[in-house]
Amino acid sequence: MLWKRISKLRTVLGVLNRKVPSYGRFKPRHFCSVPPVGQGHTIFALSSGRGKCGVAVIRVSGPASAFCLCQLTRMKQGLPPPRTAVLHSISDPNSGELLDRGLLLWFPGPQSFTGEDCAEFHVHGGPAVISAILQALGSLPGLRPAEAGEFTRRAFQAGKLDLTEVEGLGDLIHAETEAQRRQALRQMAGDLGHLYQTWSHTLTRALAHLEAFIDFSEEENIEDGVLNQVDNFVRQLQMEIHSHLHDNRRGERLRSGVHVVIAGEANAGKSSLLNAICQRPAAIVSPIAGTTRDVVETALDIGGFPVLLSDTAGLRDTHDIIEKEGVRRTRERLEQADLTVALLDVVGLLEASNKLTHLLFSFLEDLNVRQKQQCILVLNKIDLLHKKELNDLHCALKKEEDLPTVCWLSCKTGSGIEEFLRVLRAELEILCGNPLLGMPSLTQARHRSHLHKCLEALGLYEYYKRADMALAAEGLRSALASLGRITGKVGAEEILNLIFRDFCIGK
């Protein structure tokens, strides 16, 4: 199988030979060839921020970095000088299509960020260019998209980070994984997510049946039909994944932007705040608690950042079936939120002044706020308080360091709204600096790359299924691992559970 892959690669190189005649005379540097897989995976990722950036930086790290520079640029003079920016065209290694012109940087290890060979592509910041280059990278042998925090982890393992740098790393990776998790949740909620889950179940089942056949068929009653069933499962998967990958409609519409959710108790003024932000009556407001029963969603541009703003039903225990459903949807939205605007009626706070902190923290916990950075706490209806009461509350809250940013405002009089918008913009700026956030095409590129790997591994199963079942199972295992990078890991114990559920095994 491996030589098959390599010979396929040779064909690709052969194509290159024909298209670039001078390539024959020019003696390629030895590292421009595919490094053996044994040296480790090469990873790539978009590492610049999003928002309104003109230039995007794509980083590659690992032994195949030099190879991938050669493949994407077809440089005639070998690699560029180390650590020097060079302007060059970047094209698709398979089709030869020009993707962009940009700056290239070559950092031979160990003098690089990760200690490995690294390359950087500084290209134009449009999503089409970025995703085309990411897909081109993903199609090269030995390359795969980086997991969250993988660059930093490699740097850490190579001893390239000092203690203070490492300190921030856990939080950084947490933020990255959190952003990916939320992104994944949004996608998984749709038809696409459902499709991936179905594939994952089918594949898990296929693997469980094959493993059962390996571990138990000699001494137990495992019906002979099991293998045919596995074959059918695999064939069906191959077909579906293949046609999905070649479907030019590219799946469903993906919702883009930072997800901001306004949430809080009933009648705290959430819809009023939404209207104040939108500067138009997007939602119905009334003094009756429970007016908003469904999620009201508005797409906005705030300070140049694309935002999907959701107004939600107030969280309260209710017997009203419709309102109950509204509360459930609110919780679902909160789970997917990038930023939560937690809204409270300041009058209620005054009444509970003796256990103020407890009240605030349990409120935030109820809203699923995991980190104070992901939240703005808004205290509404300050027009109903006296100046002294307001001052006392101010002082009490100032002492609490673990609270998120607090904004005091009145939707009714409009006081404090400007300040709130300033805070919101600042938060958005931070959020959009995170390259992993909310870029559907990037997620899509990741998915495609993993699905390709999955399909390739299913081929391994087909190749070995009648010759060596351990190798055939290895194909299914790695197919499941690839799919698991989209849908979540499936462990050995789950496979065993399926085996014992489906078969009577009783040696």
Partner: protein
């Protein structure tokens, strides 16, 4: 001190034993290593410690039961055969003894690929036991004593190592104290064991043998967390009462494959092997089970039994309306008994008789000993280091069923690791552990110590991530050399054999790789092999060997001068060629796991109050499982990559690890 009763021993052995006991134990009752229990874990543990050079004492309730196969008369199987091979690679006993006493050898999974072949042997129960007793007696520095152990002696811990106490010896049933620097508990099902027949229940670890109640109590006093598990055994049937005529016959392999790397062949003549028979349950069996359910306490209680080795009762209840397999296995060359594999049951004896009536071949079966259930205490194996030493008590080791496993092979595998490490402990030498990337033993111990058990744990090949590398054929190449260097518990002869094979294997493989011909020429020479028409350029003989249907013999016909000298290794070379294309990818993944395994977490970390930014969920999971390494931690559900980074940071920052920037290696 002389053991009081020797009635079960052969006369010659008795003399040998007593001279040894008197001659070597003059300094009083003091040993390096004390092993409690003489089952599969105990014997391997004691022999391994003694091989290393430890003065070792094996204490057992009955000398005559050392090496007893208390359940099925067979060794090995799929996944389990891998374990026997690995125990043998560590110079253990069970593989060699099976080769000596086997009466029916069969490699299971022949058609499924050498990585999952399951070496299996029916052994003669009595021959195996006496061979094991001979082996134990012949091991230098290994002494045995018949006594029950009632209590553990402990003192304040060695302050330089984690632990709340340090073991100093054991107190026997008669009050005598035996001192030891390390103690290994291999008490199997004897900890507060009770036997279940129908609705009645008798204290006991095995039929006719008393349980260890005192020891169970003293383990509780030391603060060990215990759980309860159940298992069962089928009735034994008189051979002459079975009608074999109608049953499916299964022969042993024509060329039996020995378990041990030291043996070129097994003792029995292939043609002399005994037969196994296969029969099936009928609907009548289901009726008997249902009708007698009220009189069957064992099945109804909720103590955890295995999902995969259920009694016939749970099989027909969970999967009704099916015919379930029953293997009729011979118990020995001269035995009058048949072991019905798959018929483990706990119903009253009359019902057992009635049930057998509904199985073809067993209509007139005569029960020699009824089937029964066993319930016993096990200790949560998460309280162990990967060396099988307990975290709480320094020098105290546990191996076998006491850790929640089932099976002789699993017990032997733990026994040998515990024995080696107990010896190293007495010499204050660095511990010897096996990683998941090195062997099934590593998978077994890592699963136990990091995830714990919820049912009796049995080995399956599906538990091993690196299945195509951890094969039965290469266990010696994976383990012997390293164990020889790091432990001293491997005999010279063993390592010489392993080295000889290693050098000839690599010689043979590099020779094959150097024999290159054009693919056109190969197609001419081996027309029946489907070498792809599209292939061009040169191919080595090693590449060609990867094709289906190509054997080393066929290649030797092309290159007789070069290859004929390697024909004795043809099986092994062929397997290497088969898996080589895949090996690179696996080795890459193994490297990642190994790197994480190098990052050792201190055993005394207070996860609940660690000044690191960890979620409450992650803290609780880490606190409960106490993973020994970063690798184990990252396998725990609920531990995120971010949590792992925080742990790494904490380790580095708190100066637990040596210099900044350098590798975080402790092991």
């Amino acid at each position: 001190m002389l053991p009081r009763r020797f009635c079960h021993c052969h006369r010659a052995r008795l003399q040998f034993l007593s001279t040894r006991l008197i001659g070597q134990n003059v300094s009083g009752d003091q040993y390096d290593v004390i092993v409690v229990g003489g089952g599969h874990a105990g014997t391997e543990a004691a022999a391994a410690a003694a091989r290393g050079g430890a003065q070792t004492l094996l204490v057992t309730q009955k000398l005559s039961t050392i090496g007893t196969l208390s359940c099925n008369p067979s060794f090995g199987g799929i996944g389990k055969g891998h374990l026997v091979r690995e125990v043998d690679a560590l110079d253990g006993l069970c593989g060699r003894l099976c080769d000596q006493t086997g009466i029916h050898f069969k490699v299971l999974n022949r058609s499924k690929g050498p990585a999952v072949w399951g070496l299996r042997a029916q052994v003669d129960r009595l021959l195996y036991r006496s061979a094991m007793q001979r082996e134990v007696c012949a091991t230098a520095l290994l002494n045995v004593r018949e006594a029950s152990v009632e209590d553990l002696m402990v003192e304040d811990p060695d302050a330089s190592r984690p632990g709340l106490a340090r073991v100093t010896g054991v107190r026997l049933g008669d009050g005598a104290i035996v001192l030891g620097r390390a103690v290994i508990l291999t008490t199997g099902t004897f900890l507060s064991g009770s036997l279940k027949f129908g609705t009645s229940s008798v204290p006991g670890g095995r039929l006719g043998e008393a349980p260890s109640v005192g020891l169970s109590l003293s383990l509780s006093e030391l603060g060990f967390t215990k759980g309860r598990l159940k298992t069962g055994t089928p009735p034994r049937i008189r051979k002459e009462s079975v009608n074999f005529d109608k049953l499916e016959v299964h022969h042993g392999d024509e060329r039996p494959v020995p378990f041990s790397f030291m043996n070129a062949e097994v003792a029995i003549e292939p043609s002399q092997q005994l037969l196994c028979h296969l029969t099936y349950t009928t609907p009548g069996v289901e009726d008997v089970v249902r009708d007698t359910l009220a009189a069957n306490d064992h099945v109804q209680q909720d103590t955890k039994g295995p999902r995969y080795c259920p009694s016939i009762e749970s099989k027909v209840l969970r999967f009704p309306g099916r015919a379930h397999q029953v293997w009729l296995e011979p118990e020995g060359l001269n035995s009058e008994l048949i072991y019905p594999q798959g018929l483990s049951m706990t119903m009253p004896v009359e019902a057992q008789v009635a049930l057998l009536r509904h199985i073809p071949g067993l209509e007139a079966a005569d029960i020699a000993a009824a089937g029964y259930g066993v319930q016993y205490d096990y200790l949560d194996p998460r309280q162990l280091h990967p060396t099988l030493e307990t975290r709480k008590v320094q020098g105290l080791f546990m191996a076998g069923q006491i850790n929640g496993t089932t099976g002789y092979e699993e017990a032997a595998a733990q026994g040998i690791v515990a024995g080696i490490n107990a010896f190293l402990h007495t010499r204050s030498l660095p511990p010897f552990t096996i990683s998941r990337t090195e062997g099934y033993i590593g998978v077994l111990i890592d699963d136990l110590t990091s995830l714990g058990v919820t049912e009796p744990y049995r080995m399956f090949t599906s538990r091993a991530e690196f299945r195509t590398i951890l094969r039965p054929d290469n266990a010696d190449q994976r383990l012997t050399e390293r164990a020889y260097h790091q432990t001293g518990c491997i005999s010279g002869a063993r390592v010489v054999t392993a080295r000889h094979i290693a050098s000839r294997l690599s010689e043979g493989i590099s020779l094959l790789k150097s024999l290159c011909l054009s693919s056109y020429r190969w197609k001419q020479l081996l027309p029946e092999v489907g070498i792809s028409q599209e292939r061009s350029g040169h191919m080595s003989a090693f590449d060609v060997l990867q094709y289906r249907g190509v054997t080393l013999d066929a290649l030797a016909a092309v290159f007789p001068q070069d290859l004929v000298p390697f024909l004795d290794l043809s099986d092994r070379i062929q397997v290497e060629a088969l898996y080589e294309p895949h090996a690179e990818q696996q080795k890459l993944d193994m490297e990642q796991v190994r790197r994480d395994e190098q990052l050792v977490l201190p055993t005394d970390l207070d996860y609940l109050h660690l000044p690191a930014s960890l979620s409450i969920e992650a803290r609780e999971v880490l606190h409960r499982h106490r993973p020994p390494t970063i690798a184990a931690a990252s396998r725990l559900p609920g531990v995120t990559p971010a949590a792992i980074m925080h742990l790494l940071y904490f380790l580095r920052a708190s100066g637990q690890q040596k210099e900044a920037g350098g590798p975080l290696v402790e092991r």
